[in-house]
Symmetry: C2
Subunit: 346 residues, 2 copies
């Protein structure tokens, strides 16, 4: 017991030890022990309860210009978490408050409040703030509402349909009156998409007959393709897109670990030709660009959908901060199922 | 004299003799003589004066699904022309009326009026109806106004900047208060873009230092890239695009003759990554999708700009229907300068 207390008196964090070449390895991360920091005036000390793992984190490990600054070598991995205020020197927070915070991959963090959002456990389980009622959910909502704009009777296709973004895209498409077709990897995920999320069809991208099955599931073509994967799936979607189709691009997880040698084909000209001949709209986005205008409606609508059971979600838990690297590596290979969350502490 | 009259009593037309492999050859076309058709009730007989040659015609020669039906083998090449009504059995038209018509590549054509638009030679030279005040001009106008939406102080880049679409894009960008940078092939075209069209800069894409010069001409990046070329120029533009840049795609002339073997690089992943990380909007379009809402304003605004000398344009004339195939082939290689028009008859 005394040992446990002494252990708990140290903070732990995971830093970027090396920039990955292709898929990350465990040796690209390093677990460090540090002292628990002491909050100054106006600060709170947070104990991380749940750390969110998300595909964007792979991008931050590269030293490449992007919409966000990369994690420096030796720096703490970035990430959002659900955390408890354990010491407060800020009048707006009390000990015991549960907040959403950009703590990074660590057990303890200081905050001066700018990035905190209080969570009410009575409204929904606090972990939903990392998934269906958080950044992934708002990515689905914003991309579909602002760019995809599905009309009743149109066909919406979403890849990674069992994941935290895709699962909400498909369900919101159904709520909008569209036909929703989900793409997922493996029979278990496809069964979840069809039976639990209640999409109109689920297609397994590992199926050798994938392109033909996708075409069969979209007899009227595709009006909205929510792109969060990239790579081979796009090649199957492209010929099915209808005139004036919209393609919100929220992620390219299949590309994040670097691109393989390929077969020597430059696929850009064929894509540009389809964009031209079908008057396609291809629009990349980051969820926060829509936040000012759409976040309150998102929380209200999706929150109500969850409370009433109309919107479903799934969370995959991993125990222990030390297991976060392996969990992230697995996610980038499609091994997780729902929203991936690390239980860091209590 | 009698011989000339007998020759004139035959109509001539150019048909698609073979589907081109890559760049078209003269043997892909065939000149045919036919009888001059006789108009029935409600029809007019048209004598083609000026035939427009446009990049989209290359696409119609392929048997590939696109936004338009391909020309059948042995069928008359499609195209728009300025024509004179020489016999009218339609109450809405008089002999001598000058109209814009979808006649195809021929000297004479019947019309039942659905596709005719009367031109008033007092407003502007009738050939402008094929260029700056016609389809190419409206392509520039619609793409820039509806998709590009340049704001004062933003940077607009347009390829093929001396051509019928690009030259108006650049001038409209200037009128909108943007910095306008034109890309063209060769010093003569670049001088025209800079000195006559009065764009802020003109960059020669044949320059070995092209990408560096384009970057230097866009010190604040690119907010709108009007894509009507495709291929290598896109690769130089892509890294310069700013967050939230808009890319109207109206043509891909560099791709129309088929894509070369390339260097084995798949350029699609890098383009998708930029679309995602910079929240780009890439939007293909065909001018007619904006016609209902914007065509009257286009005619009014651009017509006034021409009348007042604020908007300039250039027309390249080729004499004789029989020379249309060679002129089209040359245009696809960038040999024309302004709007390419064939003088077919009087």
């Amino acid at each position: 017991m005394e040992v446990a207390v002494m252990t708990a008196a140290k903070a732990r964090q995971i830093v970027l030890a090396a920039r990955p070449q292709g898929r990350p390895k465990l040796s690209d991360f390093r677990l460090e022990e540090t002292v628990i920091p002491t909050p100054g005036a106006g600060q709170v000390l947070l104990r991380v309860q749940y750390l969110s793992l998300d595909p964007y984190m792979r991008g931050r490990m590269d030293d490449r210009k992007s919409y966000a600054t990369p994690v420096p070598l030796g720096g703490v991995m970035q990430g959002e978490s659900v955390a408890k205020v354990i010491v407060s020197k800020h009048p707006g927070y009390s000990e015991g408050d549960i907040v959403l915070a950009q703590t990074g991959w660590r057990t303890h963090a200081l905050s001066d409040r700018a990035d905190l959002r209080k969570l009410d456990p009575a409204v929904a389980p606090v972990t939903t703030g990392l998934g269906v009622l958080g950044m992934p959910g708002f990515t689905a909502y914003g991309g579909l509402r602002v760019i995809g704009k599905p009309k009743p009777g149109e066909t919406v296709v979403v890849a990674a349909a069992s994941g935290p973004v895709g699962s909400l895209v498909g369900q919101l498409a159904k709520i909008a009156g569209a036909r929703a077709v989900g793409i997922a990897g493996g029979t278990e995920k496809c069964a979840y998409v069809k039976d639990e999320l209640r999409l109109d069809a689920a297609i397994d991208h590992r199926d050798s007959d994938f392109a033909a099955k996708l075409a069969a599931a979209c007899p009227d073509g595709i009006d909205v393709y929510f792109e969060n994967v990239g790579g081979a799936i796009w090649q199957a979607v492209l010929p099915l897109l209808n005139k004036f189709a919209r393609v919100p691009v929220s992620g390219l997880i299949a590309q994040y670990n670097g691109v393989g040698k390929g077969d020597g084909t430059d696929r850009l000209p064929a894509t540009m030709r389809q964009i031209l001949s079908k008057s396609l709209t291809v629009r990349g986005f980051i969820n926060n660009e829509f936040a000012a205008e759409h976040y309150p409606a998102f929380l209200r609508e999706v929150g109500a959908g969850i409370a009433e059971g109309r919107i479903r979600y799934r969370e995959d838990f991993v125990d222990g901060l030390e297991n976060a690297p392996e969990a992230l590596i697995g996610m980038l290979e499609g091994r997780n199922f729902g929203k991936l969350i690390v239980r860091v502490g209590a």
